[in-house]
Protein backbone atom coordinates (compact mmCIF):
# COMPACT_ATOMS: atom_id res chain seq x y z
CA UNK A 1 0.00 0.00 0.00
CA UNK A 2 2.84 2.38 0.86
CA UNK A 3 4.56 1.47 -2.38
CA UNK A 4 1.39 2.20 -4.27
CA UNK A 5 1.24 5.63 -2.64
CA UNK A 6 4.84 6.31 -3.61
CA UNK A 7 4.10 5.37 -7.18
CA UNK A 8 1.11 7.64 -7.18
CA UNK A 9 3.07 10.59 -5.86
CA UNK A 10 5.80 10.06 -8.46
CA UNK A 11 3.18 10.03 -11.17
CA UNK A 12 1.61 13.18 -9.76
CA UNK A 13 4.97 14.95 -9.53
CA UNK A 14 5.84 14.01 -13.10
CA UNK A 15 2.42 15.13 -14.21
CA UNK A 16 2.72 18.56 -12.58
CA UNK A 17 6.17 18.88 -14.11
CA UNK A 18 4.77 18.22 -17.56
CA UNK A 19 2.08 20.85 -17.03
CA UNK A 20 4.44 23.53 -15.74
CA UNK A 21 7.13 22.76 -18.30
CA UNK A 22 4.89 23.23 -21.29
CA UNK A 23 6.19 26.14 -23.28
CA UNK A 24 4.40 27.84 -26.08
CA UNK A 25 4.82 30.28 -28.90
CA UNK A 26 2.13 32.44 -27.33
CA UNK A 27 3.88 32.96 -24.01
CA UNK A 28 3.03 36.67 -24.17
CA UNK A 29 -0.69 35.97 -24.44
CA UNK A 30 -0.57 33.29 -21.76
CA UNK A 31 1.17 35.67 -19.38
CA UNK A 32 -1.47 38.26 -20.12
CA UNK A 33 -4.21 35.87 -18.99
CA UNK A 34 -2.29 34.74 -15.91
CA UNK A 35 -1.56 38.32 -14.88
CA UNK A 36 -5.11 39.41 -15.51
CA UNK A 37 -6.52 36.53 -13.45
CA UNK A 38 -4.02 37.09 -10.63
CA UNK A 39 -4.79 40.80 -10.47
CA UNK A 40 -8.52 40.11 -10.53
CA UNK A 41 -8.28 37.63 -7.68
CA UNK A 42 -6.01 39.99 -5.74
CA UNK A 43 -8.57 42.79 -5.99
CA UNK A 44 -11.55 40.56 -5.21
CA UNK A 45 -9.96 38.93 -2.20
CA UNK A 46 -8.64 42.20 -0.75
CA UNK A 47 -10.19 42.49 2.70
CA UNK A 48 -8.95 46.04 3.40
CA UNK A 49 -10.56 48.11 0.65
CA UNK A 50 -14.28 48.84 0.71
CA UNK A 51 -16.91 47.53 -1.69
CA UNK A 52 -16.99 50.68 -3.84
CA UNK A 53 -13.23 50.81 -4.14
CA UNK A 54 -13.20 47.12 -5.01
CA UNK A 55 -15.79 47.57 -7.74
CA UNK A 56 -14.07 50.55 -9.29
CA UNK A 57 -10.63 48.91 -9.28
CA UNK A 58 -12.09 45.76 -10.76
CA UNK A 59 -13.98 47.68 -13.43
CA UNK A 60 -10.76 49.56 -14.27
CA UNK A 61 -8.92 46.30 -14.67
CA UNK A 62 -11.56 44.81 -16.95
CA UNK A 63 -12.02 47.94 -19.06
CA UNK A 64 -8.27 48.17 -19.65
CA UNK A 65 -8.03 44.53 -20.66
CA UNK A 66 -10.91 44.34 -23.11
CA UNK A 67 -11.40 45.84 -26.55
CA UNK A 68 -14.91 47.01 -25.79
CA UNK A 69 -15.17 49.08 -28.92
CA UNK A 70 -14.67 46.05 -31.12
CA UNK A 71 -16.94 43.86 -28.99
CA UNK A 72 -19.69 46.51 -29.12
CA UNK A 73 -19.63 46.57 -32.90
CA UNK A 74 -19.40 42.81 -33.17
CA UNK A 75 -22.44 42.04 -31.03
CA UNK A 76 -24.56 44.45 -33.04
CA UNK A 77 -23.57 42.63 -36.27
CA UNK A 78 -25.28 43.90 -39.42
CA UNK A 79 -27.24 46.54 -37.54
CA UNK A 80 -23.99 48.41 -36.84
CA UNK A 81 -23.46 49.11 -40.51
CA UNK A 82 -27.05 50.21 -41.00
CA UNK A 83 -26.93 52.76 -38.17
CA UNK A 84 -26.33 56.47 -38.43
CA UNK A 85 -23.29 57.98 -36.71
CA UNK A 86 -25.53 59.49 -34.08
CA UNK A 87 -27.06 56.09 -33.32
CA UNK A 88 -23.63 54.50 -33.21
CA UNK A 89 -22.45 56.95 -30.61
CA UNK A 90 -25.59 56.55 -28.52
CA UNK A 91 -25.31 52.78 -28.76
CA UNK A 92 -21.61 52.66 -27.80
CA UNK A 93 -22.29 54.69 -24.67
CA UNK A 94 -25.33 52.62 -23.74
CA UNK A 95 -23.53 49.35 -24.32
CA UNK A 96 -20.57 50.48 -22.21
CA UNK A 97 -22.84 51.11 -19.21
CA UNK A 98 -24.66 47.85 -19.83
CA UNK A 99 -21.40 45.96 -20.04
CA UNK A 100 -20.03 47.39 -16.81
CA UNK A 101 -23.30 46.71 -15.12
CA UNK A 102 -23.77 43.16 -16.30
CA UNK A 103 -20.27 41.72 -16.70
CA UNK A 104 -17.53 43.73 -15.09
CA UNK A 105 -19.30 43.92 -11.75
CA UNK A 106 -20.40 40.33 -11.68
CA UNK A 107 -17.11 38.49 -11.83
CA UNK A 108 -16.79 38.49 -8.06
CA UNK A 109 -18.56 35.12 -8.11
CA UNK A 110 -15.30 33.61 -9.22
CA UNK A 111 -13.27 34.79 -6.25
CA UNK A 112 -11.23 32.22 -4.41
CA UNK A 113 -10.89 29.97 -7.43
CA UNK A 114 -7.63 29.67 -9.25
CA UNK A 115 -7.25 30.10 -12.99
CA UNK A 116 -4.71 27.70 -14.50
CA UNK A 117 -3.53 28.32 -18.04
CA UNK A 118 -3.25 25.00 -19.86
CA UNK A 119 -2.43 25.94 -23.44
CA UNK A 120 -2.85 28.30 -26.36
CA UNK A 121 -3.26 28.29 -30.12
CA UNK A 122 -3.64 30.60 -33.07
CA UNK A 123 -7.18 31.15 -34.31
CA UNK A 124 -7.31 33.25 -37.44
CA UNK A 125 -6.24 36.76 -36.47
CA UNK A 126 -6.77 35.93 -32.81
CA UNK A 127 -5.05 33.80 -30.19
CA UNK A 128 -7.01 31.50 -27.91
CA UNK A 129 -5.63 30.83 -24.45
CA UNK A 130 -7.21 27.87 -22.72
CA UNK A 131 -7.53 27.77 -18.94
CA UNK A 132 -9.31 25.88 -16.20
CA UNK A 133 -11.01 27.22 -13.11
CA UNK A 134 -10.91 24.62 -10.38
CA UNK A 135 -13.99 24.50 -8.17
CA UNK A 136 -13.29 25.36 -4.55
CA UNK A 137 -12.56 22.35 -2.36
CA UNK A 138 -12.01 19.88 -5.20
CA UNK A 139 -9.16 18.93 -7.52
CA UNK A 140 -11.15 17.57 -10.39
CA UNK A 141 -14.32 19.63 -10.82
CA UNK A 142 -13.17 22.11 -13.41
CA UNK A 143 -14.70 24.80 -15.53
CA UNK A 144 -13.07 25.24 -18.91
CA UNK A 145 -12.49 28.86 -19.87
CA UNK A 146 -11.09 30.00 -23.21
CA UNK A 147 -9.90 33.56 -23.78
CA UNK A 148 -9.99 34.96 -27.29
CA UNK A 149 -7.33 37.64 -27.51
CA UNK A 150 -6.16 40.07 -30.15
CA UNK A 151 -2.52 41.10 -30.18
CA UNK A 152 -1.79 44.37 -31.97
CA UNK A 153 2.00 44.72 -31.82
CA UNK A 154 2.19 43.65 -28.21
CA UNK A 155 -0.96 45.45 -27.12
CA UNK A 156 -3.17 42.54 -26.04
CA UNK A 157 -6.92 42.86 -25.56
CA UNK A 158 -9.66 40.41 -24.67
CA UNK A 159 -12.25 39.88 -27.40
CA UNK A 160 -14.30 37.03 -25.98
CA UNK A 161 -14.62 34.55 -23.15
CA UNK A 162 -15.76 31.03 -23.89
CA UNK A 163 -17.06 29.13 -20.87
CA UNK A 164 -17.44 25.38 -21.40
CA UNK A 165 -18.02 25.84 -25.10
CA UNK A 166 -20.30 28.86 -24.74
CA UNK A 167 -19.04 32.10 -26.21
CA UNK A 168 -20.35 35.11 -24.29
CA UNK A 169 -19.94 37.42 -27.26
CA UNK A 170 -21.82 35.10 -29.60
CA UNK A 171 -24.57 34.69 -27.01
CA UNK A 172 -24.83 38.48 -26.64
CA UNK A 173 -24.91 38.86 -30.39
CA UNK A 174 -27.72 36.31 -30.77
CA UNK A 175 -29.64 38.04 -28.02
CA UNK A 176 -29.42 41.41 -29.78
CA UNK A 177 -30.34 39.84 -33.13
CA UNK A 178 -33.38 38.23 -31.54
CA UNK A 179 -34.48 41.47 -29.91
CA UNK A 180 -34.13 43.34 -33.19
CA UNK A 181 -36.03 40.63 -35.09
CA UNK A 182 -38.90 40.90 -32.62
CA UNK A 183 -38.90 44.71 -32.65
CA UNK A 184 -39.09 45.70 -36.32
CA UNK A 185 -35.27 45.81 -36.54
CA UNK A 186 -35.44 49.18 -34.85
CA UNK A 187 -32.04 50.07 -33.37
CA UNK A 188 -33.56 52.89 -31.33
CA UNK A 189 -35.73 50.38 -29.46
CA UNK A 190 -32.68 48.25 -28.75
CA UNK A 191 -30.73 51.21 -27.41
CA UNK A 192 -33.66 52.21 -25.17
CA UNK A 193 -33.91 48.64 -23.89
CA UNK A 194 -30.17 48.51 -23.17
CA UNK A 195 -30.43 51.76 -21.22
CA UNK A 196 -33.43 50.51 -19.22
CA UNK A 197 -31.74 47.24 -18.30
CA UNK A 198 -28.49 48.86 -17.16
CA UNK A 199 -30.22 51.33 -14.81
Amino acid sequence: MIKFKQHCSIVIILFTFVISAHSSEFAQEENFVTNFADEAIEILSDEVIGENEKTSRFTDLVMNAIDLNLVSKFVLAKAWKDSTNEQKEKYLNAFKDYFINSYANKLDQYSGEKVQVVGSEAAGKYVIVESNIVREGTDTLKINLKWRLINRNGDIKIIDLNIEGISLVIAQREEFQSFLANNDNDIEKLIDKIITVSN
Binding site: E89, L92, N101, Y126
Partner: protein, 273 residues
Protein backbone atom coordinates in the same frame (compact mmCIF):
# COMPACT_ATOMS: atom_id res chain seq x y z
CA UNK B 1 -35.91 -5.64 -21.84
CA UNK B 2 -36.11 -6.79 -25.46
CA UNK B 3 -38.84 -4.40 -26.50
CA UNK B 4 -36.93 -1.49 -25.06
CA UNK B 5 -34.09 -2.08 -27.46
CA UNK B 6 -36.58 -2.28 -30.32
CA UNK B 7 -38.08 1.05 -29.38
CA UNK B 8 -34.63 2.61 -29.34
CA UNK B 9 -33.67 1.03 -32.66
CA UNK B 10 -36.94 2.16 -34.21
CA UNK B 11 -36.57 5.70 -32.96
CA UNK B 12 -32.97 5.98 -34.05
CA UNK B 13 -33.60 4.57 -37.50
CA UNK B 14 -36.34 7.12 -38.12
CA UNK B 15 -34.09 9.90 -36.92
CA UNK B 16 -31.08 8.72 -38.90
CA UNK B 17 -33.11 8.40 -42.11
CA UNK B 18 -34.67 11.76 -41.60
CA UNK B 19 -31.22 13.12 -40.82
CA UNK B 20 -29.86 11.89 -44.14
CA UNK B 21 -32.76 13.46 -46.00
CA UNK B 22 -32.48 16.81 -44.29
CA UNK B 23 -28.72 16.96 -44.70
CA UNK B 24 -29.03 16.96 -48.46
CA UNK B 25 -31.65 19.63 -48.34
CA UNK B 26 -29.59 21.90 -46.13
CA UNK B 27 -26.45 21.96 -48.25
CA UNK B 28 -27.20 25.05 -50.26
CA UNK B 29 -28.13 27.59 -47.65
CA UNK B 30 -24.87 27.47 -45.75
CA UNK B 31 -22.95 29.70 -48.12
CA UNK B 32 -25.65 32.04 -49.29
CA UNK B 33 -26.71 33.40 -45.92
CA UNK B 34 -25.15 36.55 -44.60
CA UNK B 35 -26.81 35.86 -41.26
CA UNK B 36 -23.94 33.96 -39.75
CA UNK B 37 -25.59 32.26 -36.85
CA UNK B 38 -28.86 30.97 -38.20
CA UNK B 39 -31.13 30.11 -35.32
CA UNK B 40 -33.40 27.14 -35.97
CA UNK B 41 -36.46 28.14 -33.95
CA UNK B 42 -39.67 28.03 -36.03
CA UNK B 43 -41.75 27.38 -32.90
CA UNK B 44 -40.50 30.50 -31.15
CA UNK B 45 -44.00 31.77 -30.28
CA UNK B 46 -45.06 28.56 -28.50
CA UNK B 47 -41.60 28.11 -27.02
CA UNK B 48 -41.73 31.54 -25.43
CA UNK B 49 -45.02 30.65 -23.72
CA UNK B 50 -43.66 27.39 -22.31
CA UNK B 51 -40.49 29.25 -21.34
CA UNK B 52 -42.54 31.72 -19.28
CA UNK B 53 -44.28 28.80 -17.61
CA UNK B 54 -40.92 27.22 -16.75
CA UNK B 55 -39.69 30.50 -15.28
CA UNK B 56 -42.69 30.58 -12.96
CA UNK B 57 -42.15 26.95 -11.99
CA UNK B 58 -38.50 27.75 -11.32
CA UNK B 59 -39.32 30.84 -9.27
CA UNK B 60 -41.89 29.10 -7.12
CA UNK B 61 -40.34 25.67 -6.66
CA UNK B 62 -36.94 24.81 -8.09
CA UNK B 63 -35.02 27.97 -7.21
CA UNK B 64 -36.19 28.12 -3.57
CA UNK B 65 -35.21 24.46 -3.10
CA UNK B 66 -31.82 25.09 -4.70
CA UNK B 67 -31.21 28.18 -2.55
CA UNK B 68 -32.14 26.29 0.63
CA UNK B 69 -29.94 23.37 -0.41
CA UNK B 70 -26.99 25.68 -0.99
CA UNK B 71 -27.51 27.49 2.33
CA UNK B 72 -28.02 24.45 4.52
CA UNK B 73 -25.75 21.84 2.98
CA UNK B 74 -21.99 22.49 3.34
CA UNK B 75 -19.87 22.75 0.19
CA UNK B 76 -18.00 19.56 0.99
CA UNK B 77 -21.18 17.52 0.91
CA UNK B 78 -22.52 19.30 -2.15
CA UNK B 79 -19.32 18.36 -3.97
CA UNK B 80 -19.85 14.70 -2.90
CA UNK B 81 -23.34 14.83 -4.39
CA UNK B 82 -22.02 16.21 -7.67
CA UNK B 83 -19.48 13.39 -7.80
CA UNK B 84 -22.05 10.71 -7.02
CA UNK B 85 -24.41 11.98 -9.73
CA UNK B 86 -21.52 11.98 -12.13
CA UNK B 87 -20.71 8.40 -11.13
CA UNK B 88 -24.27 7.20 -11.63
CA UNK B 89 -24.08 8.59 -15.15
CA UNK B 90 -20.98 6.57 -16.00
CA UNK B 91 -22.67 3.32 -17.14
CA UNK B 92 -24.83 5.15 -19.66
CA UNK B 93 -21.78 7.12 -20.77
CA UNK B 94 -19.97 3.80 -21.34
CA UNK B 95 -22.87 2.48 -23.41
CA UNK B 96 -22.86 5.62 -25.54
CA UNK B 97 -19.07 5.51 -25.90
CA UNK B 98 -19.55 2.03 -27.36
CA UNK B 99 -22.37 3.13 -29.66
CA UNK B 100 -20.10 5.92 -30.90
CA UNK B 101 -17.37 3.37 -31.59
CA UNK B 102 -15.09 4.81 -28.91
CA UNK B 103 -13.76 1.63 -27.33
CA UNK B 104 -11.01 3.31 -25.35
CA UNK B 105 -13.37 5.88 -23.86
CA UNK B 106 -15.85 3.10 -23.01
CA UNK B 107 -13.04 1.38 -21.12
CA UNK B 108 -12.24 4.58 -19.24
CA UNK B 109 -15.89 5.19 -18.31
CA UNK B 110 -16.31 1.60 -17.12
CA UNK B 111 -13.11 1.75 -15.06
CA UNK B 112 -14.19 5.05 -13.57
CA UNK B 113 -17.50 3.55 -12.52
CA UNK B 114 -15.90 0.46 -10.97
CA UNK B 115 -13.12 2.36 -9.17
CA UNK B 116 -15.30 5.22 -7.92
CA UNK B 117 -18.15 2.95 -6.80
CA UNK B 118 -15.73 0.90 -4.67
CA UNK B 119 -12.59 2.83 -3.71
CA UNK B 120 -14.50 6.08 -4.08
CA UNK B 121 -17.17 4.99 -1.56
CA UNK B 122 -20.29 4.65 -3.74
CA UNK B 123 -19.08 7.39 -6.03
CA UNK B 124 -18.88 10.12 -3.40
CA UNK B 125 -15.18 10.60 -4.18
CA UNK B 126 -13.34 10.56 -7.46
CA UNK B 127 -10.08 8.62 -7.03
CA UNK B 128 -10.26 7.56 -10.69
CA UNK B 129 -9.55 11.13 -11.81
CA UNK B 130 -6.33 11.23 -9.76
CA UNK B 131 -5.27 8.11 -11.65
CA UNK B 132 -5.69 9.99 -14.89
CA UNK B 133 -9.04 8.43 -15.76
CA UNK B 134 -11.26 11.29 -16.80
CA UNK B 135 -14.17 11.32 -19.17
CA UNK B 136 -16.97 13.53 -20.41
CA UNK B 137 -20.59 12.58 -19.82
CA UNK B 138 -22.27 11.25 -22.92
CA UNK B 139 -25.96 10.79 -23.59
CA UNK B 140 -27.87 9.21 -26.42
CA UNK B 141 -28.62 12.60 -27.94
CA UNK B 142 -24.90 13.05 -28.52
CA UNK B 143 -24.66 9.55 -29.99
CA UNK B 144 -27.44 10.42 -32.42
CA UNK B 145 -25.53 13.52 -33.44
CA UNK B 146 -22.41 11.42 -34.06
CA UNK B 147 -24.59 9.20 -36.25
CA UNK B 148 -25.48 12.22 -38.34
CA UNK B 149 -28.92 13.03 -36.99
CA UNK B 150 -29.71 16.73 -37.25
CA UNK B 151 -30.85 18.37 -34.04
CA UNK B 152 -34.09 19.68 -35.52
CA UNK B 153 -35.83 22.84 -34.30
CA UNK B 154 -35.27 24.28 -30.84
CA UNK B 155 -37.90 23.20 -28.33
CA UNK B 156 -38.78 24.27 -24.81
CA UNK B 157 -40.24 21.35 -22.88
CA UNK B 158 -42.49 21.98 -19.89
CA UNK B 159 -40.46 21.50 -16.64
CA UNK B 160 -37.48 20.07 -18.53
CA UNK B 161 -36.45 23.22 -20.34
CA UNK B 162 -34.48 23.66 -23.58
CA UNK B 163 -34.22 20.70 -25.94
CA UNK B 164 -34.54 19.61 -29.56
CA UNK B 165 -36.36 16.60 -31.05
CA UNK B 166 -33.00 14.82 -31.26
CA UNK B 167 -32.06 15.55 -27.67
CA UNK B 168 -35.55 14.70 -26.44
CA UNK B 169 -35.48 11.35 -28.27
CA UNK B 170 -31.99 10.88 -26.85
CA UNK B 171 -33.15 11.61 -23.32
CA UNK B 172 -36.07 9.21 -23.69
CA UNK B 173 -33.84 6.44 -25.06
CA UNK B 174 -31.17 7.12 -22.48
CA UNK B 175 -33.56 6.10 -19.73
CA UNK B 176 -34.37 2.90 -21.66
CA UNK B 177 -30.75 2.04 -22.40
CA UNK B 178 -29.21 2.89 -19.05
CA UNK B 179 -27.73 -0.23 -17.43
CA UNK B 180 -28.41 1.36 -14.04
CA UNK B 181 -32.13 0.85 -14.61
CA UNK B 182 -31.73 -2.77 -15.64
CA UNK B 183 -30.01 -3.93 -12.48
CA UNK B 184 -31.72 -4.59 -9.17
CA UNK B 185 -35.23 -4.68 -10.60
CA UNK B 186 -38.16 -2.44 -9.73
CA UNK B 187 -37.57 -0.63 -6.47
CA UNK B 188 -33.81 -0.04 -6.70
CA UNK B 189 -33.92 1.36 -10.16
CA UNK B 190 -36.90 3.54 -9.33
CA UNK B 191 -35.27 5.15 -6.34
CA UNK B 192 -32.10 5.68 -8.36
CA UNK B 193 -34.15 7.35 -11.05
CA UNK B 194 -35.79 9.65 -8.52
CA UNK B 195 -32.40 10.43 -6.95
CA UNK B 196 -30.86 11.29 -10.28
CA UNK B 197 -33.76 13.32 -11.64
CA UNK B 198 -34.58 15.22 -8.45
CA UNK B 199 -31.15 15.68 -6.95
CA UNK B 200 -29.67 16.24 -10.38
CA UNK B 201 -32.03 19.16 -10.99
CA UNK B 202 -31.32 20.69 -7.58
CA UNK B 203 -27.56 20.11 -7.93
CA UNK B 204 -27.51 21.80 -11.33
CA UNK B 205 -29.73 24.68 -10.21
CA UNK B 206 -27.73 25.31 -7.03
CA UNK B 207 -24.53 25.63 -9.05
CA UNK B 208 -26.12 28.27 -11.23
CA UNK B 209 -28.15 30.45 -8.84
CA UNK B 210 -26.15 33.66 -9.24
CA UNK B 211 -25.39 33.13 -12.90
CA UNK B 212 -29.03 32.56 -13.86
CA UNK B 213 -30.26 35.40 -11.62
CA UNK B 214 -27.81 37.75 -13.28
CA UNK B 215 -28.66 36.52 -16.71
CA UNK B 216 -32.35 36.99 -16.06
CA UNK B 217 -31.94 40.49 -14.63
CA UNK B 218 -29.43 41.74 -17.20
CA UNK B 219 -30.82 40.23 -20.35
CA UNK B 220 -32.10 42.20 -23.26
CA UNK B 221 -33.90 39.03 -24.32
CA UNK B 222 -33.61 36.26 -21.70
CA UNK B 223 -35.25 33.69 -23.96
CA UNK B 224 -32.70 34.28 -26.73
CA UNK B 225 -29.81 34.23 -24.27
CA UNK B 226 -30.82 30.82 -22.91
CA UNK B 227 -31.39 29.54 -26.44
CA UNK B 228 -27.90 30.60 -27.45
CA UNK B 229 -26.34 29.04 -24.34
CA UNK B 230 -28.15 25.77 -24.96
CA UNK B 231 -27.36 25.48 -28.67
CA UNK B 232 -23.75 26.53 -28.24
CA UNK B 233 -23.27 24.09 -25.37
CA UNK B 234 -24.76 21.14 -27.24
CA UNK B 235 -22.82 22.02 -30.37
CA UNK B 236 -19.53 22.08 -28.55
CA UNK B 237 -20.27 18.72 -26.90
CA UNK B 238 -21.11 17.24 -30.28
CA UNK B 239 -17.98 18.54 -31.91
CA UNK B 240 -15.87 17.20 -29.05
CA UNK B 241 -17.19 13.78 -29.97
CA UNK B 242 -16.52 14.12 -33.63
CA UNK B 243 -13.19 15.77 -32.91
CA UNK B 244 -14.10 18.80 -34.93
CA UNK B 245 -12.35 21.91 -33.83
CA UNK B 246 -15.09 24.28 -32.71
CA UNK B 247 -12.64 27.16 -32.96
CA UNK B 248 -12.80 26.91 -36.71
CA UNK B 249 -16.54 27.45 -36.78
CA UNK B 250 -16.21 30.22 -34.24
CA UNK B 251 -13.33 31.81 -36.12
CA UNK B 252 -15.53 31.99 -39.18
CA UNK B 253 -18.10 33.90 -37.17
CA UNK B 254 -15.50 36.27 -35.78
CA UNK B 255 -13.69 36.71 -39.11
CA UNK B 256 -16.87 37.19 -41.05
CA UNK B 257 -17.58 40.42 -39.29
CA UNK B 258 -15.85 43.08 -41.27
CA UNK B 259 -14.45 45.35 -38.62
CA UNK B 260 -15.35 48.89 -39.41
CA UNK B 261 -12.09 50.55 -38.45
CA UNK B 262 -13.02 53.82 -40.12
CA UNK B 263 -15.40 54.75 -37.34
CA UNK B 264 -14.02 54.10 -33.90
CA UNK B 265 -16.77 55.89 -32.05
CA UNK B 266 -16.48 58.14 -29.04
CA UNK B 267 -13.70 57.54 -26.57
CA UNK B 268 -15.13 55.21 -24.03
CA UNK B 269 -14.75 56.71 -20.61
CA UNK B 270 -15.53 54.95 -17.41
CA UNK B 271 -17.89 56.88 -15.21
CA UNK B 272 -18.71 55.54 -11.80
CA UNK B 273 -21.78 56.57 -9.91
Amino acid sequence: MKYRIFIVLFLSSILVLQGCASKEASVNYSNSETEIVSVNDPLEKINRVVFQFNIIFDKLILRPIAVTYKTIVPGFIRNRITYSLDNLGMPITAVNNLLQGELRKAGVSTSRFIINSTVGVLGFFDPAASMGLTSENEDFGQTLSVWGVESGPYLILPFLGPSTPRDFAGMFSTSLLDPMYQVGGGSTSNSLRVYRMGTGAVDFRSQNIEILDDLQNNSIDYYAAVRSFYSQGRESQASNNMEINTHNQENDIFDDFDIDESYVGPDIEIIYD
